[in-house]
């Protein structure tokens, strides 16, 4: 099963839920945990271990000035303004390029070929015998997170049990991360912001046609409005984690709730079972 963890609001505990779920399940089955929050990946903080790292690249155009007659066809075609043709040369702005490859097709002189440009890295580690952690990291200053997320998902595509931790928000990186998942856990918290952004995230999974359920984290026990929203929108509340100084201290030390307090593994194992049942996937 491909299980995504999303939230809308940042800081609700997506990574906490994803990491504890993976830690709990990896005692008995092969689990791949993918950190799709490539602008600020943090799952590696919970799981130490040797990482194999490699570059993630995208193709960008290279102009052969000796073959170019500066006709301007490539600039005319480029929707992103990445190519500007002057009478004597072509200017290329790599940060505007979306790697569509159209310029190489429309060039009548065959003066454009593509070369790889690094935009980030992929790190793979095995912090537990049955746990594989894949971390996508976008390079600073690189504007396109989606190709790094796509690559992180691609290397896990054949793995049977995948947990995808997404970025906060509801923009392209989140859509790319959760698209194609069998189920999505929406993590929220007991604040008006948590509920507001839960509504946005619920809209996204509905549009994508992905079944979803809710985890309320840092609950202060006053979750009436969140519960009402979930009932109205047919979202099951899968787990409620209380607001607790002890849990915060465990997290703050970089430890996992289920490692420090093994009794919580029962709760996360039950969470996984509920997700599988709601997704209609056999365990």
């Amino acid at each position: 099963m491909k299980l995504a963890v999303a939230s809308g609001k940042g800081g609700t505990g997506k990574s906490m839920v994803a990491a504890n779920l993976a830690f709990t399940l990896a005692w008995t089955e092969n689990i791949t945990l993918v950190d799709c929050d490539v602008e600020e990946p943090n799952l590696h903080l919970f799981f130490s271990g040797h990482e194999e790292e490699r570059d993630v690249t995208v193709p960008v155009p290279v102009i052969d000035e000796s073959a170019c007659n500066h006709c301007g066809k490539c600039s005319e075609f480029c929707q992103y303004g990445a190519l500007t043709v002057l009478p004597d040369r072509v200017l290329f702005f790599p940060e505007l390029c979306h790697s569509c490859g159209g310029c190489t097709l429309v060039c009548p002189k065959g003066a454009i070929h593509e070369a790889p440009k690094r935009i980030g890295t992929l790190a793979i580690s095995h912090p537990m015998p049955k746990l594989k952690l894949i971390t996508g990291t976008l390079d600073s200053g690189s504007p396109h997170a989606v190709p790094v997320i796509r690559e992180a998902k691609r290397v896990s595509v054949r793995d049977p049990e995948v947990i995808l931790d997404t970025a906060p928000g509801t923009s392209c990186p989140v859509v790319e991360a959760i698209d194609g998942s069998d189920f999505c856990i929406l993590v929220t918290e007991s604040t008006p912001f948590g509920l507001h952004d839960l509504q946005l995230a619920a809209d996204v999974v509905t549009k994508l046609g992905i079944p979803a359920g809710v985890v309320i984290n840092r609950s202060d026990g006053k979750d009436d409005e969140t519960i009402r929203f979930c009932v109205d929108h047919d979202l099951e509340i899968l787990l409620t984690i209380p607001f607790s100084r002890e849990i915060a201290a465990i997290q703050g030390k970089g430890d996992l709730l289920c490692r420090a307090r093994p009794e919580w593994q029962k709760e996360f194992a039950a969470l996984a079972l509920k997700c599988r049942a709601l997704a209609g996937v056999e365990p």
Partner: protein
């Protein structure tokens, strides 16, 4: 020489538009003859990369100088490479007034 001025309207009596890539119109004033040409900016509502695309447009229109309010880094790189001198117009006047200021040498070059 043709001087391109970013404009909110299609005539020299319209106000100068302070944005470059998203300016509704480009007015090209001919400093020799005093005639003008108005070009509607097809990239005004574009999603992204409008600066370099607008720069390409005024290069193709053979402008020798640009008068606008603000200019992004990519657009400036294109205009610098094409040898189009850029001037900053910080007042709220019309295109014609900006052109007069340019002719009187009172506009500062964009840094």
């Amino acid at each position: 020489m043709k001087v391109c001025i970013t404009s909110q309207g299609a005539t020299p009596d319209a106000k100068v538009e302070e944005r470059f890539g998203r300016a509704p119109y480009f007015i090209l004033m001919d400093s020799e003859t005093g005639s003008f040409e108005a070009v509607a900016n097809p990239f005004a509502d574009g999603a992204g990369g409008v600066g370099p695309k607008a720069a390409q447009l005024i290069i193709d229109k053979k402008a020798g100088a640009l008068i606008s309010g603000m200019l992004g880094g990519n657009a400036k790189a294109v205009l610098d490479a094409a040898g189009i001198v850029q001037y900053a117009y910080r007042s709220t006047g019309t295109v014609r007034e900006a052109f007069e200021a340019f002719k009187n040498n009172t506009l500062a070059r964009t840094q």
